[in-house]
Amino acid sequence: MAETTLTHTSQMDRPRGLRGIAADWASDQRAFKNVSWGKAMMWIFLLSDTFIFGCFLLSYMTARISTRVPWPNPSEVFALRIGGSEIPLILIAIMTFVLISSSGTMAMAVNFGYRRDRRKTAILMLLTAALGATFVGMQAFEWTKLITEGVRPWGNPWGAAQFGSCFFMITGFHGTHVTIGVIFLIIVARKVWRGDFDTGRPGFFTSRRGRYENVEIMGLYWHFVDLVWVFIFAFFYLW
């Protein structure tokens, strides 16, 4: 790492703006100056995941534009009958609020992690995991409802056949991401609770010592899951 080490002076007079980007990305430089490899790699993973979800949404767009058959109205398809009246899209709205809340608790967990407040960090992370699990549960309910109403990847009672395949592919992949996030949240919360990041206990898989930055990296993934839902909500459910 010697060749990429920063010195005080080189940090002080790094150029700014576009010239600074070119300077940071130059061949003799470490591109991400103040970002650890763990965080940088999580960002790059999230970038690749963005392309995956981007391709899903793109193929959905292509299918929806190119079909002659009218697209089923999501507002009616996802309506729920509560108290005798049909409320459009209500379950999806609640799911959105649950996921946003989980993002909020995660952001606070990261904050308390850096303040070395183990108890609050672990509790907030477990709360995040609980909200995430609630989200997946509601999604399972939604899937069950649609499947009993006759939605299949190859057809549905209301219109264009591609609706089912797009729906199951996009929400299914997102739900998988949430589920994996919940599992990892519980794992990291356990480490925080036990004080692994204070005592420098080696991880069970990598045998490397963790830092409280692990909570922030976990948070990056979780916020990304929320971010993807923002796009799915806009393009699939509202459009």
């Binding site: 002080m12 981007g54 793109l58 190119s66 009218p70 809340s101």
Partner: protein, 129 residues
């Protein structure tokens, strides 16, 4: 440390520590809790707004533009504040944010392609049932 600002690059440089400069230069993000609560509240407001677009059954370009505006605002808040991108160096921002924006080129290509597919389908099979 509660009120500490994010990008500790300059700060750390002002306080010369030991030899492990790289480790010290890697900063972590600490902001007041209030900031997160404010963003959280805004995300709730924006989500409610985008839900109301559907609830009131707005149509056409008004609906689409409102959906896109609320979506971009929410995405921006999450990435900038919750994921702390606003306090990263430009080299990092451009590396992560620029590539997804270039996906719009792909979107444009597929819009033309699917319009053509629709056209040929209508030409061969007639308008939709």
């Amino acid at each position: 440390m509660a009120e500490a600002t994010a990008n500790g690059l300059g700060q750390h440089a002002l306080h010369p520590h030991d030899a492990a400069i790289v480790a010290k230069a890697e900063t972590h993000q600490e902001h007041p809790i209030k900031l997160y609560l404010v963003v959280w509240a805004w995300l709730f407001i924006l989500s409610t707004c985008s839900y109301l677009v559907d609830y009131f059954g707005l149509h056409g370009y008004l609906r689409w533009s409102l959906i896109l505006i609320f979506m971009m605002l929410k995405a921006g808040l999450i990435v900038a504040v919750f994921m702390h991108m606003a306090w990263e160096r430009l080299a990092m921002m451009y590396a992560i944010i620029l590539p997804p924006i270039l996906v719009l080129v792909f979107v444009a290509m597929m819009v033309f392609e699917s319009d053509y597919t629709l056209l040929t389908r209508i030409a061969f099979f007639g308008p939709g049932p």
